[in-house]
């Protein structure tokens, strides 16, 4: 076997710089061979090592009474009561999804699901946070179609419902889309498993699919920017097989029910390399592996390829000595490979053998403890100085308000996304209490406990671009508001931090500011960070995405019956607006649609107001005082009222007495935070409780069948009907995908998306 010589060119092509190479020589006490170089390159890739983000991530609040497992394991774990725990995490699969959308998105789902069941938890829900470019940008409809099919193709086959998520469109993602996949599982507290290789002499067992040549250097690809040559990287995208993963899930949970397993870890990014090094690292041990014993899909594979392959649906198990047969028996019951490929040692090295010859020997501890950590330079970008405090705008006639609302309701960001989520199985496992668009957060019961879990994913990248600190705060605040409006108590978050190149000081500044915002909000709202993922280098030809720190939040419903839908349910209910409205149109949907080039500050997030509103919403739900509840976010008050009216029960409101000093545009479309609109049959009780809680509250009108009328002092601002709103909202996305304009959608002409959206 002839391996390439390690030359400076080879080192550079592995993304390792000069000082990092020197460090490798220091750690080994010699020059690395080809396989060792490959191992270092993936372990020290940005994707696996967090070398640029680590010092910032340390500032997250990660502790709290409900935290069972914080960051550092395959997923975070929280206590949900009565001995039950929930494991959850969100992870990016951006680069692969842009290159090959179906497989990229599918394996993103597969990877996050393995992170959950490797903890011993059975996955019960998925969400996806998707960011696309403008629908008429090159390849974009094909990317939307491929990503949605890929997510559905994997999750549906696994039998895990996709219950929530978000999808938005902005020109900032024309060259670099984002696919962030979230999964959550539940188990008993004492049943949690960790990725640890302890117990000298214990067997190291490879289970799952055979290893092929797919995905080699996937982690390294995710650690570089895109350019014209990216198309050539298509072979680095892995190919998913959800059927095999379904078998792997059942086999893993079955072996975990025995006491044969010491530790288990999935082979995700950097495959066998990261799983073996991380498992030995956590236990402070070593591992000896015979790579020729790894089940392989094709002949002629080299140790380098085996160590770097990112073939999917594989796990590494450390079992108790003498229990190898139990592992093999259960995996063969599920028609899966299981091969003993090595053992745990006490020498602190990962040592690799090929037909008896030692071909690599790397100390475990230094590869993580001495890994490069960069405190990269930061600089406030020049555009930040051009951002106005307030959006300056021309006066808009009251008569224009109905048309402006309809245009917002038809916009890709605000219209119904049922075209997307109806391609996902939302009801399998019979736990779904609130499916997408039912409430502000998805609600999934935990059978046998009487409890339920709420989950949501949120971030507003435009806010984060305009003010990364406020934007970071807002992502957490909105997530918490969504959970509380749906009936859950906000508990903890996972995050998926998507940014441009960390080597640019402006990007690093955005990153640090977003983290500072998330940390402050998590502290104020008592929702620690328990897991997460960083995705840098989201740029194409020097143009970075908008800063996108996606927050996935989980909340707990002590009683599965708590909460209310977001839509108005009955006629003649009083409508109450909670919170205060200010002139905050910077970054709003109205500004993006009407003044796309304007730069104005996004809404400020007052965490004290948020905390009060959340407590109030929870108290109202617990006392069963609400018939509907919906937080105000993108599109402001008018869009929120429209969203509440999509099931046919609309509203007649008069906003007199609320924000009387604002013009109609700000009144209707300002995106001021800490607001919600609720209905109740005990409005006086709601108003009194709001007063006691220090939350501004005003009765603005009542619900009614078919009607949609917003007035101010008796003067109509918006006048339409619920069938009209509903038609536009529900039909728009498919029509826009079919190539129609927003005006076509409103006029009711045009064609829906074809069956297959071509490349």
């Amino acid at each position: 076997m002839q391996e390439p010589a390690v030359t400076p060119t080879l080192v550079q092509s592995h993304g390792i710089n000069e000082s990092e190479y020197k460090l490798i020589e220091q750690i080994l006490g010699r020059a690395p061979n080809y396989t060792e170089l490959g191992i270092f390159s993936v372990m020290w890739s940005e994707h696996c090592s967090y070398k640029s983000s680590r010092i910032h991530l340390k500032t997250f609040p990660t502790k709290g009474p409900i935290v069972v497992q914080g960051p550092g394991e395959n997923a975070g774990v929280i206590d949900i009561g009565d001995g039950w725990v929930a494991a959850f995490k969100m992870e990016s699969h951006n680069h692969p999804s842009y290159i090959e959308p179906y497989q990229g998105a599918a394996t993103g789902v597969g990877g996050i699901l393995r992170d959950i069941f490797t903890m011993g938890a059975r996955p019960i829900a998925c969400m996806d946070s998707l960011r696309f470019g403008e629908l008429d940008a090159p390849r974009m409809k094909y990317l939307v179609d491929g990503v949605v099919r890929g997510i559905g193709g994997y999750g549906n086959c696994m039998g895990i419902p996709t219950v929530g998520g978000e999808t938005s469109f902005h020109r900032g993602y024309n060259g670099n889309i984002l696919v962030n996949a979230f999964a959550l599982g539940v188990t008993r507290k004492e049943k949690i498993f960790k990725g640890t290789a302890s117990g000298v002499g214990n067997p190291v067992i490879y289970v799952g699919s055979k290893t092929g040549r797919d995905g080699i250097h996937g982690a390294t690809m995710a650690s570089a920017e895109f350019d014209e040559a990216s198309e050539e990287k298509r072979p680095t995208v892995q190919v998913g097989d959800p059927f095999t993963e379904k078998l792997l899930l059942e086999a893993c949970l079955e072996i975990m029910d025995t006491d044969a397993v010491v530790g288990i870890q999935d082979m995700g990014a950097a495959g066998l390399t990261s799983s073996s090094f991380e498992m030995a690292g956590r236990a402070g041990t070593g591992i000896r592996m015979h790579l020729d014993r790894v089940p392989m899909r094709e002949s002629g594979m080299t140790p380098y390829e085996i160590m770097l392959s990112e073939s999917q649906e594989r796990m590494l198990i450390v079992a108790k000595r003498g229990r190898e047969e139990d592992v093999v028996r259960i995996f063969s019951k599920w028609d899966l490979n299981a091969a003993v490929i090595g053992e745990v040692t006490d020498d602190g090295f990962v040592r690799l053998f090929w037909h008896g010859d030692e071909i690599a020997k790397i100390p475990v501890e230094p590869i993580s403890t001495e890994a490069p950590v960069y405190n990269r330079p930061m600089q406030r970008p020049a555009y930040a100085d051009r951002i106005a405090l307030k959006l300056e705008r021309d006066r808009v006639a009251d008569a224009e308000m109905t048309a402006s609302l309809l245009r917002l309701v038809a916009s890709p960001n605000l219209c119904s996304k049922h075209w997307i989520w109806e391609q996902y199985d939302t009801t399998v496992r019979t736990n779904t209490i609130a499916a997408p668009e039912d409430r502000d957060a998805a609600i999934v019961r935990v059978k046998g406990t009487g409890r339920a879990l709420a989950m949501t994913s949120d971030v507003n990248p435009v806010y984060c671009y305009l003010d990364p600190y406020e934007g970071g705060k807002q992502a957490v605040a909105e997530a918490a508001r969504n959970i509380a409006a749906s009936g859950g108590r906000p508990a903890a978050i996972t995050d998926c931090l998507n940014f441009g190149s960390p080597e640019r000081p402006e990007i690093m500044w955005q990153f640090a500011e977003c983290i500072r915002g998330i940390s402050d909000a998590c502290m104020a709202l008592d929702t620690p960070v328990v897991s997460g993922n960083v995705s840098f280098y989201n740029e194409t030809e020097g143009k970075a995405i908008y800063p996108t720190p996606t927050v996935g939040m989980v909340g707990i419903l002590e009683d599965e019956h708590h909460g209310a839908p977001l839509a108005f349910t009955d006629e003649k209910l009083d409508i109450i607006l909670l919170g205060a409205t200010f002139d905050e149109l910077g970054g709003s949907e109205w500004q993006q649609q009407n003044m796309p080039d304007a730069l104005a500050a996004p809404p400020l997030v007052d965490l004290e107001r948020e905390r009060k509103l959340i407590s109030l919403l929870l108290a109202l739900h617990e006392n069963h005082l609400l018939r509907s509840a919906h937080d105000l976010s993108n599109g402001g008050l008018a869009v929120a009222l429209a969203e509440c009216s999509m099931d046919g029960i609309g509203c007649h409101v008069d906003l007199k007495g609320h924000a009387d000093d604002l013009d109609a545009i700000a009144l209707l479309y300002s995106e001021s935070q800490a607001r919600a609109v609720v209905t109740s049959n005990s409005p006086d009780d709601v108003l009194q409780r709001a007063k006691d809680a220090g939350v501004p509250a005003i009765r603005i009108g009542h619900t009614g069948a078919g009607v949609f009328l917003i007035e101010r002092n008796g003067v109509p601002l918006v006048r339409t009907t619920t069938p009209e709103l509903s038609r536009i909202w529900r039909s728009s996305f498919s029509l826009l995908l079919g190539g129609d304009t927003i005006d076509d959608v409103i006029r009711g002409v045009g064609e829906e998306a074809p069956e297959v959206l071509a490349h």
Binding site: F243, T244, K246, D335, Y424, D425
Partner: protein, 232 residues
């Protein structure tokens, strides 16, 4: 009575079928492993939804070779009840216990949403507690639910009153808008000529509890249980 719930590799509604029969209905229920050939005394065998063998080759095509299928065939031939839901319906057509085939949805996309079903026949063990013409809201979640058979077979099904459920609108009309996948004659579920084998694409087990916002599906499982109560 006892339900036997088959686990094929890739079944993913097996736990749901267990939950609805055991926890919600309160009946006896046990899992049946695909490599076994013992129905463990089951009175009603359920082939649950999922992606048996990954739907590779064709949905249900590989499942017919599973060892558990032989005793299921014998059970059906002896008049025992067999219920196929979603992927289970696809398997039953591949096995030959039900006529016709399930093709890819007409719009070529996986579709997950609530549909309305009209009960066409109540003289089966699965529908005895329903009213003829009763409209139920039931979720679907499939990519290959487009029921197809040639006209002679379809006419035969109608003549023998084997069409049990059809997709309908709120007034019970069989419109093309109400048909989510292009199924021939809006067919959502059929039984065999002997009326002891039923296959349907929608998922009654997913709408059998009030907490899930809909319990329209429970009557199907109650019917099965009732048919045994009256038989005794």
């Amino acid at each position: 009575m006892k339900f036997g719930i088959v686990i094929l590799p890739g079944s993913n509604c097996d736990h749901d079928a267990m939950h609805v029969t055991k926890d919600v209905l309160g009946a006896e229920a046990e899992f049946l492993w695909h490599k076994d050939t013992d129905l463990k005394g089951s009175d009603c065998v359920i082939l649950p939804g999922g992606f048996a063998y990954g739907d590779y080759l064709r949905a249900g095509a590989l499942a017919k070779f599973a060892p558990i299928m032989e005793p299921i065939r014998r059970h059906a031939a002896g008049g025992g009840l067999v219920l196929g839901i979603c992927n289970g319906f696809q398997v039953l057509t591949e096995v030959g216990l039900l006529p016709g085939a399930l093709m890819r949805n007409q719009h070529l996309r996986f579709l997950s949403r609530d549909v309305l079903l009209r009960t066409e026949e109540t003289n089966t063990a699965f529908t005895s507690e329903m009213q003829k013409g009763q409209i139920m809201r039931v979720p679907i979640a499939h990519g290959e639910g487009n029921y197809f058979a040639d006209d002679a077979t379809l006419d035969d099904l109608e003549r023998n009153r084997q069409v049990i459920f059809r997709y309908c609108d709120e007034e019970g009309r069989l419109t093309s808008e109400a048909n989510p996948n292009g199924s021939a004659r809006n067919i959502a579920g059929i039984c065999n000529r002997e009326r002891n084998v039923l296959g349907l694409m929608p998922h009654p087990e997913r709408c059998s509890e009030n907490i899930l916002g809909n319990s329209d599906g429970l009557v199907l499982f109650k019917s099965i249980a009732a048919s045994f109560a009256t038989a005794r």
